[in-house]
C-alpha cells in the first residue's frame, strides 16, 4: 500500500509540474464547453433579411412588421427589383429575401390566394432550412389569425410539441457530447502518454527491475487520472447546470456512476494504446486520430447516427462514446433510470473488461 501511495504521489508530481498536461487536463474542458455552449449553435438569431415588396399594402406591412418584431430576423434593407436579389446575396450579409407579389392584399381577399416567395442563401443548407421554416411558421401564424372567423369544412391542425428540449437549445445536445469527448480524451490520451513517457525516458526499465508488478504500475499510473477525470466530469456538469441551465432530470448519482464507468473505459483504452506505442508522439497521434475523430463524428454527438450510411451505423457500435452519449442524454434530459439504460451500461462494461483484458495480455513484463 505504501508503495502504491508513493507511486501515485510521484504521478501527481508529474502532472502538476508539466504545464502542458495541466492545460490539457483543466484548460481544455472549460474551453470546449464554453465553445460548444456559446459559439457553436444551430439556432438562428437576428438573421439579416431583405424585403422586396411589390404591393406595399396593409397585409404585407403587417406581415413584415410581424417578422421584424421577432427576435430571429432583422430587416436589413428593402429592394425594388427582382434583379437585385442575387446582388444582395452576393454581398453576403443578407441570408434571405422575402418577395411579395403585386396587389397582395387584393388577391388575398378576392381570389383567396396570394403569393409570397422565400428566397434563401443556401450556401449553408442548415441555416437556409431553418430560416425558411421560421418564416413559414410566421406566415402560417398570420394566416391563422386572419381565418379565425371562418371555419373550413376540413382542417388538419398539426400540433407539434418538442419534448425534453422544448426550446430546441443546441447546448442540450452539446453538453453530453462535450462531456464524452473530454472524458475520453483526457483519460485515454493522458494515460497513454504518461505510460509511454516512462518507456521513452528509460525509467520503465528501472520500474521493471523493481519489486513493483506490472499491475501495480498500471493502477498507479491510472489512479490519478480517474480522480482528475471525476473532477472534470463534475466541473462540466456544474457548468452546464449553472451557466447553460441544462437540467439534470435523472439521478445525479447514477450520472456520476456512469461517468466513472466511462472514465474507466477510456483509461483502459489509454493503457491499451500505451502497450502498442513506443513513444509519446505515437501515443498522442493514436489517441487523437483514433479516438477524437470517432468520438466526434461517429458517436451521434454532432451527426445523428440514424442518418448515416449503414456501414457507418454498424461501425458506430464499437465506439464507446456512442453508448455513453445515449446514457447521458437519457439521464440528464429524459430523466430515465438504470432500468432504461442498463443495456448501454452493459455494453460499456463489456468493452471496459475487453480493453483491460487485452492490455493485460499485451503488457510486457520485459523489454521485448
Amino acid at each position: 500500500m505504501k508503495r502504491f501511495i508513493g507511486f501515485v504521489q510521484k504521478e501527481f508530481y508529474h502532472i502538476f509540474r508539466d504545464r502542458r498536461s495541466l492545460f490539457i487536463l483543466f484548460g481544455m474542458p472549460v474551453a470546449q464547453i464554453m465553445l460548444f455552449g456559446f459559439a457553436i449553435t444551430n439556432e438562428i438569431n437576428n438573421v439579416d433579411i431583405a424585403i422586396l415588396d411589390r404591393s406595399q399594402d396593409a397585409s404585407t406591412k403587417e406581415i413584415i412588421s410581424k417578422i421584424s418584431s421577432s427576435e430571429y430576423f432583422s430587416i436589413l434593407q428593402h429592394i425594388k427589383e427582382e434583379a437585385e436579389i442575387e446582388e444582395v446575396f452576393k454581398k453576403g450579409k443578407v441570408k434571405a429575401v422575402l418577395y411579395f407579389e403585386k396587389e397582395f392584399s387584393k388577391k388575398l381577399i378576392k381570389q383567396h390566394t396570394a403569393k409570397v416567395q422565400i428566397v434563401t442563401d443556401a450556401t449553408d443548407p442548415n441555416v437556409a432550412n431553418t430560416i425558411s421554416n421560421y418564416i413559414n411558421s410566421i406566415l402560417s401564424n398570420y394566416q391563422e389569425e386572419q381565418n379565425r372567423a371562418i371555419t373550413l369544412d376540413y382542417q388538419i391542425v398539426p400540433q407539434s410539441r418538442m419534448v425534453f428540449n422544448a426550446e430546441l437549445k443546441s447546448v442540450y445536445m452539446f453538453v453530453p457530447g462535450v462531456m464524452t469527448v473530454i472524458l475520453m480524451l483526457v483519460s485515454a490520451m493522458m494515460t497513454s502518454i504518461s505510460i509511454t513517457r516512462e518507456k521513452e525516458l528509460g525509467t520503465m526499465e528501472i520500474l521493471l527491475v523493481s519489486p513493483l508488478n506490472p499491475f501495480q504500475v498500471i493502477i498507479g499510473k491510472v489512479f490519478p487520472y480517474i480522480f482528475l477525470s471525476i473532477i472534470n466530469a463534475a466541473a462540466i456538469v456544474i457548468l452546464s447546470i449553472f451557466v447553460f441551465h441544462v437540467p439534470v432530470n435523472g439521478s445525479l448519482f447514477l450520472l456520476g456512476l456512469e461517468s466513472v464507468l466511462f472514465i474507466v473505459t477510456s483509461l483502459a483504452l489509454g493503457i491499451l494504446i500505451s502497450t502498442i506505442s513506443a513513444t509519446q508522439q505515437t501515443a498522442m497521434m493514436i489517441s487523437l486520430m483514433g479516438l477524437m475523430l470517432p468520438v466526434i463524428l461517429l458517436s451521434g454527438f454532432i451527426f445523428p447516427i440514424s442518418s448515416m450510411p449503414v456501414p457507418l451505423q454498424v461501425i458506430s457500435n464499437i465506439v464507446p462514446a456512442k453508448w455513453f452519449i445515449i446514457i447521458v442524454k437519457g439521464i440528464m434530459l429524459k430523466g430515465v433510470g438504470i432500468s432504461i439504460v442498463w443495456k448501454e451500461t452493459l455494453v460499456l462494461l463489456g468493452m471496459t473488461l475487453l480493453f483491460i483484458g487485452l492490455s493485460v495480455r499485451k503488457y510486457k513484463i520485459r523489454l521485448e
Binding site: K2, R3, I5, G6, F7, Q9, K10, Y13, H14, R17, D18, L201, G202, T203, E205, I206, L207, L208, V209, S210, P211, L212, N213, I365, R366, L367, E368
Partner: protein
C-alpha cells in the same frame, strides 16, 4: 557464486548481440565488462536484470534463475542503465524517496550505505534531477540503485559522459561499496578503468576475448612492446605502418605502441629505418603492455 552466466546467446534478427557467453562472478567481486560500443554489454546487462530473455543458455544472479525466478532477482539487484533514467521533473530527494518507497524501504533505513555518495549531492536535494550536471546525475542514479541495499549491483557504463574527476570519485565509491560486500558488475568502454576491477572480461562483437585479472591480462601480452616517439607523429605512424616487419601500431597517449613480428627484434634497426625516412627526435623505449594493447591484440585475431 554471485553471478553465473552459462553459454548465453542472444541475437536481434541476423545480428548476434551475444555469442555463447560464459562468465562467473564471485560474491563481493568488482567485475568489469570491457568493450567498445556495440560489443553486447548492454544486452548482457538486460538479460541479467531479467529485462530480456536469452535465446540460448542460462544464467543465475544471487542464486536465482533469470527466467524462472525473475521476480526474486528484481527484489535483490540494483540496476543503473546506461542512459540516465531517473525522473527529470522530480527533485533529487523525491527521486531517492520514490525508489526507496517502491522497494519497500526508506532513505533513513539504508542511509549508511549511500551516505558517502549522497552527501555530495545533498546540498542540491531540492533541485530537479534534470538540472543536475552529468557527474551529479550519476551519483544520484547510483544512490537510487543502492537505496534498497541490493546484493548485486549492475552498472551499465556509469561513467560515460562524466568528467575525469567525477569518474575517479565514482570508482572510489565503487571500491567502498565492494568493501560492504556488494557484488558489482560494471561495464565501461574506458580501458583505464579496467585496471580498477578485480577481474575483467574483454568483450567484442558479442564474444568474450578473455577473462582474467587486469594484471594477468597484461602479463599475457605475447610480445615485447615499445613506446615510439618522433617530432612528427603523423608521419611516424605512416612510416611504422609501412615498415616490413611491423606487427601492430597503435597510438597511445603521446607515443605510438609498436610490436614487431620477429622474435629477436633490435630497436636500433627500427631507429635506423625511421631516421632514413626523415624522422627526427626519435625515441624508442621498451614499455609494459596495457589492457588496451591486449584488447587490440585480441581483437585483431
Amino acid at each position: 557464486m554471485s553471478i553465473h552466466i552459462d553459454h548465453i546467446s542472444k541475437s536481434y534478427g541476423k545480428v548476434n548481440a551475444l555469442d555463447d557467453i560464459s562468465i562467473r562472478v564471485d560474491q563481493g567481486e568488482l567485475f568489469g565488462l570491457i568493450g567498445p560500443d556495440g560489443a553486447g554489454k548492454t544486452t548482457l546487462f538486460r538479460i541479467l536484470t531479467t529485462l530480456l530473455l536469452p535465446d540460448h543458455g542460462s544464467a543465475s544472479v544471487a542464486g536465482y534463475d533469470i527466467i524462472a525466478d525473475f521476480k526474486a532477482i528484481r527484489k535483490q539487484v540494483g540496476y543503473m542503465p546506461g542512459r540516465f533514467s531517473l525522473y527529470q521533473d522530480l527533485t533529487v530527494e523525491e527521486n531517492l524517496r520514490f525508489f526507496a518507497t517502491i522497494f519497500g524501504t526508506t532513505i533513513a533505513e539504508n542511509y549508511d550505505l549511500i551516505r558517502d555518495i549522497y552527501v555530495q549531492i545533498e546540498p542540491f536535494k531540492n533541485r530537479r534531477a534534470g538540472k543536475l550536471s552529468g557527474g551529479m546525475k550519476q551519483k544520484l542514479a547510483l544512490s537510487c540503485a543502492l537505496i534498497h541495499k541490493p546484493k548485486v549491483l549492475f552498472l551499465d557504463e556509469p561513467t560515460t559522459g562524466v568528467d575525469p574527476v567525477s569518474r575517479k570519485e565514482f570508482w572510489e565509491m565503487l571500491k567502498r561499496l565492494q568493501d560492504k560486500g556488494i557484488t558489482i558488475l560494471v561495464s565501461t568502454p574506458y580501458m583505464d578503468e579496467a585496471a580498477l576491477c578485480d577481474r575483467i572480461a574483454l568483450i567484442q562483437d558479442g564474444r568474450i576475448l578473455e577473462i582474467d585479472t587486469p594484471k594477468a591480462i597484461v602479463e599475457h601480452y605475447p610480445k615485447p612492446i615499445f613506446d615510439v616517439g618522433a617530432h612528427n607523429t603523423y608521419l611516424l605512424i605512416e612510416k611504422l605502418n609501412a615498415y616490413a616487419h611491423k606487427h601492430s601500431v597503435f597510438p597511445f597517449g603521446e607515443y605510438i605502441h609498436y610490436t614487431d613480428q620477429r622474435d629477436g627484434f633490435d630497436p636500433l634497426e627500427l631507429r635506423a629505418y625511421l631516421k632514413n625516412e626523415g624522422l627526427q627526435n626519435i625515441h624508442i623505449e621498451r614499455t609494459k603492455a596495457t589492457i588496451e594493447d591486449t584488447f587490440m591484440e585480441l581483437a585483431k585475431q
